[in-house]
């Protein structure tokens, strides 16, 4: 446990080489990959997310921590598959058409990946149909939409409408987020949920996956 606490600590500091080394060491000592992931990497990333939310740390710290987290996760991925640890499901994510802002969306991707979800990141300026196509192709259960511009928020409604038009409502859930977006707006456009930030997006996605 001492070692996993240290792994979490190094992740928080963004020491990717050290995270990689400790992950390998933990594997070599025979610790289950799922435990290294949960009590090391995810535990560390949770603290990072929490501190970012409190403005205690800033974007550069989160990006460095994410890099460290990915270094450890790459190492664990084949082991998790070998151990038959079930994947937590796929999420299609992107910033809606007309919007080029992807910092918030990237943070959500980091937190979701950290929580064990497979994220299909479509990037920014993504057309409504592209979200639904990707969700069908990847058999994703959740589509996550981001917008920073008030002017692009209406595109979110189009994605919800397309999910319904293709008969995917209930099978594919839509969650929305971004600075101008609110729970009221999510309700109004018929989205399944709203995530205030990266950390809450993880909780909401977990609830949407479980609600099936």
């Amino acid at each position: 446990m001492e070692m996993l606490a240290r792994l979490a600590e190094m992740l928080q500091r963004g020491e990717d080489q050290e995270v990689l080394r400790l992950t390998r060491e933990a594997v070599a000592q025979g610790l289950p990959a799922a435990r290294i992931l949960n009590d090391g990497l995810i535990a560390g990333m949770n603290v990072v997310g929490e501190r970012f939310k409190c403005h205690d740390i800033f974007l550069p710290d989160v990006l460095l921590a994410a890099r460290a987290m990915y270094a450890g996760m790459e190492e664990l991925k084949p082991l998790l598959i070998r151990d038959g640890v079930p994947a937590r499901g796929r999420v299609v994510l992107g910033t809606v058409q007309g919007d080029l802002h992807d910092i918030g969306k990237n943070l959500v991707a980091i937190m979701l990946r950290g929580a064990g979800y497979e994220v299909v990141d479509l990037g920014h300026n993504v057309a409504p149909a592209a979200f639904v196509d990707a969700a069908e192709r990847a058999d994703a259960r959740v589509i996550g939409l981001s917008a920073l511009l008030t002017t692009t928020m209406p595109v979110m409604r189009q994605v919800v409408e397309q999910v319904r038009a293709r008969g995917l409502a209930g099978r594919v859930r839509v969650i929305v987020g971004g600075a101008p977006v609110s729970a009221d707006f999510a309700r109004e456009i018929g989205a399944d949920d709203y995530g205030y930030d990266g950390a809450s997006a993880v909780d909401k996605v977990a609830a949407l996956m479980a609600a099936r």
């Binding site: 974007l59 990006l63 058409q97 511009l149 456009i189």
Partner: protein, 295 residues
């Protein structure tokens, strides 16, 4: 016209314009289109925005070049037209605003994350700003406004590029600060004293804050800027934070509310006041009345 720095240096308060993007949308720019492409395709529309702000009493209009760096234009396949896009923007602003109004070149972030946090080397960002600012300088501007920056390294590169491209043109640099329990910070963790110190060292003549928050927090940010520097200040706040009413975003600070709160800015030594997201020619007209009433 007398130079901007001279007027501001004598304690005069100049009025800049308000939001550009939302007005362009109202006049035909579609979601997903490149706002700067309008400089070439619909220069009349771009000029009409400057004309409306000038009519509202603005002393300074900003060009439609916020996303005019080749790195940003590349997202729309317009990288090769960087020179034409930026030159056309200056011409449209100049024509729209008419005589007696300063034209300021807007220079926003590249949208790329610099190394080591992202994948873009600083040299690429420096080269992008150099190319955009050379085009703006060649078209002839009265001021360069490096704005809405959150990464100090990127802001410093833009200021340095502006100084090099247009040695005779004053440069203002504004960053976007969030209100946190520990004070004002950009999302990249830059506080006001550090921003003021490094932007001044990079050669910015005017320092300031824009976007992100409404006027009230902006007054507090201006007070902190005042303590951090003796250079003239530039403030362009949002019209509050957007609220949703019947599915449409509404900016809560009406022109009178905005101007009423902004009345605290001149006493803090803010030499240029304008507006950012959600502000309209009506906001600028209200600021004009507020500033004229002080005289």
């Amino acid at each position: 016209m007398r130079p901007i720095l001279e007027r501001v240096g004598r304690g005069e308060v100049l009025l800049a314009d308000g939001a550009m993007g939302t007005l362009l949308m109202a006049r035909g720019l579609k979601a997903g289109e490149c706002p700067e492409a309008l400089n070439l395709d619909r220069p009349d529309v771009v000029a009409s925005v400057s004309a409306d702000y000038a009519a509202a009493g603005a002393d300074i209009v900003l060009t439609n070049t916020f996303g005019g760096s080749p790195l940003k234009l590349a997202l729309y396949g317009l990288e090769e037209r960087t020179e034409a896009v930026n030159a056309a923007a200056v011409a449209a602003a100049r024509r729209g605003a008419g005589d007696g109004v300063y034209v300021a070149a807007s220079c926003g972030p590249t949208g790329r994350m610099l190394q080591p946090y992202g994948d873009t080397p600083p040299e690429a960002v420096a080269a992008a700003f150099a190319r955009q600012l050379a085009a703006l300088a060649a078209a002839g501007v009265d001021l360069i406004v490096v704005e809405t920056m959150t990464d100090l390294a990127e802001a410093v590169l833009a200021v340095a590029a502006a100084r090099a491209a247009a040695p005779g043109v004053p440069v203002a640099a504004t960053m976007t600060f969030d209100v946190t329990p520990n004070g004002f910070f950009t999302i990249m963790g830059v506080d006001i004293p550090r921003a003021a110190r490094e932007l001044a060292a990079a050669g910015a003549h005017i320092l300031g804050a824009n976007c992100g928050v409404g006027v009230e927090p902006m007054v507090a940010a201006a007070a902190e800027l005042r303590r951090a520097t003796d250079r003239p200040l530039l403030v362009q706040a949002n019209a509050g934070l957007p609220e949703l009413r019947d599915g449409a975003p509404v900016w809560p600070e009406t022109p009178d509310v905005y101007a009423g709160r902004a009345a605290a800015l001149p006493a803090l030594g803010v030499g240029i006041i304008g507006g950012c997201c959600g502000t309209t020619p009506a906001h600028i007209a209200a600021l004009r009345r507020m500033l004229d009433a002080r005289r």
